[in-house]
Amino acid sequence: MTVKELALALELEPVCEAEPDREVTGGYTGDLLSWVMGRAQAGDAWITIMSNNNVIAVATLTDAALVILAEDVHPDPGMAELAEKKGINLYRSPEAAFPLCAKVAALL
């Protein structure tokens, strides 16, 4: 399933669609960035409520397919621009992390 297809199915709001045709191969959720860094896998849909610019660095280094800001969290100033610059797919959703995870798991 591609990022775009997942975003449509979950009714995600795009913040930055850098590479919508990228394949999503798994999912991960977490907000402690060191924890995510060591455990998220390439191709994951990463669901988090962290909205600072460091999220983009972690998404870049882990090769996450997309980042979903859950719980109606808004990106911090500059985050969208940084995602664009680094080629990171960034979306947001009003839903909580748990139902988002359940839906991602059901879709993949």
């Binding site: 060191s34 860094m37 060591g38 600072n52 460091n54 999220v55 660095a57 500059g78």
Partner: protein, 139 residues
């Protein structure tokens, strides 16, 4: 002799741009065609070191030597040093501030992650002088 050497200055002033050197190193290793697992381990180890230097030491330097069979990452700062290395190596131990915690860091995973994802981690540190970390990732 190193096949290639990369040097990065790590800016300690701007926390939001922390990770730039790791992202740059990752790009270079990818261009050189290293396996994704090797790139991943180098990225995690260097990112943790970079974040530590920004949080605790107001920045520093990173030097990466790329050999055909290993990648050596040396991180050096002139920060406060680590008073108790054994304690700092324990998962969950952190001296980071509340503000750093709120940004998603300070989980006490930095040094343990560096050890976990590298073949060797050598720590030279002196309180009030600085810290030098040497990490080796086998290809």
């Amino acid at each position: 002799m190193a096949a290639l050497h990369f040097h990065f200055d790590i800016d300690g002033e701007d926390f939001s741009s922390a990770g730039e050197a790791s992202v740059e190193m990752k790009k270079k290793l990818r261009q050189l065609g290293f396996p994704s697992d090797v790139i991943r381990r180098c990225s995690i180890a260097m990112y943790e070191g970079e974040i530590n230097m920004v949080i605790h030491a107001n920045g520093g330097n990173a030097d990466v030597d790329v050999y055909p069979d290993k990648i050596v990452i040396v991180l050096e700062d002139h920060g406060p040093g680590i008073p108790n290395v054994e304690l700092a190596m324990q998962e969950g131990y952190s001296t980071a501030t509340e503000q750093i915690h709120n940004m998603g860091f300070g989980a006490g995973m930095g040094l343990p992650n560096m050890k976990r994802y590298t073949e060797s981690l050598e720590i030279e540190t002196q309180v009030g002088v600085g810290t030098k970390l040497t990490m080796v990732v086998a290809v």
